[in-house]
Assembly symmetry: C2
């Protein structure tokens, strides 16, 4: 099943709301959602601050929340920010065929690696996501550096 | 700091014992340990069965258990089985410079990707690890297929 443009928004909004929730908790504002046929299976956000969990990037938290799945071949992963190498490797490993990304201005991610393994990458250039991350990076440079291991 | 051959074993044994613990719990027998200067920081094992957590491969569980680290540049990750794309992406993202792998006979992992990003990969060819995984794969083919999304 393939999402059409009409069904993209609710799943992306779930990712964006998860990022906003994390921000409101004092956490890193990156959120994600896994959807199948336009329906959100699960969403999640970065949990480094909330749970001291370095592997809990937004995408990873959404996949954890989705639990055990027989297959991801008919899913799309939505995320507010371009996926890092960890999340990229996970998308490849789980054979998720399509990723919808809020923005890649404040962090480039690993689009070349994703595409080299056949993953479709859609970038929304959502200004809300750019503003959210830029503000966070300016206000918490040490936390941002820690999250990307710099 | 660099581990010498003398200090490799205790950290690898921690990974192996974590895999054995998972096996004894009815889980997937893959374990890992993160070490710094020969000292184990944390170990972990696959938790797909135990906690219904698809992102909790052995390496990921060890990294989660290690909690927030300022840097991984002086660490080595030990794992009983060749790292999949998820764990490979995580090693790259976390800038872990060195990975010691029990075996790559029963699963090839992503050594080319690891090495292309400058990660040193050491393979021990440990027959205990090969036996452990081969037996598991033969006895639980559906669980193994699920864990590697096949």
């Amino acid at each position: 099943m393939t999402e059409t443009d009409n069904t993209l928004d609710p799943a992306f909004e779930a990712a964006y709301q998860a990022a906003q929730k994390s921000l409101s908790e004092g956490g890193i504002p990156i959120g994600a959602a896994l959807a199948r046929g336009g329906k959100v299976i699960a969403s999640g956000h970065n949990e480094r601050v909330q749970h001291g969990d370095p592997i809990a990037h937004g995408e990873m938290s959404a996949l954890r929340a989705a639990g055990r799945q027989t297959s991801y071949r008919d899913t799309t992963l939505y995320t507010t920010l371009a996926p890092c190498a960890m999340c990229t490797g996970t998308i490849i490993q789980f054979k998720i065929p399509r990723v919808v990304v809020g923005e890649a201005e404040t962090f480039p991610g690993e689009f070349d690696l994703l595409r080299s393994r056949g993953v479709e990458v859609v970038v929304l250039d959502d200004p809300r996501c750019v503003d959210m991350m830029r503000t966070f990076q300016e206000e918490h440079p040490e936390l941002w550096a820690e999250d990307i291991a710099e």
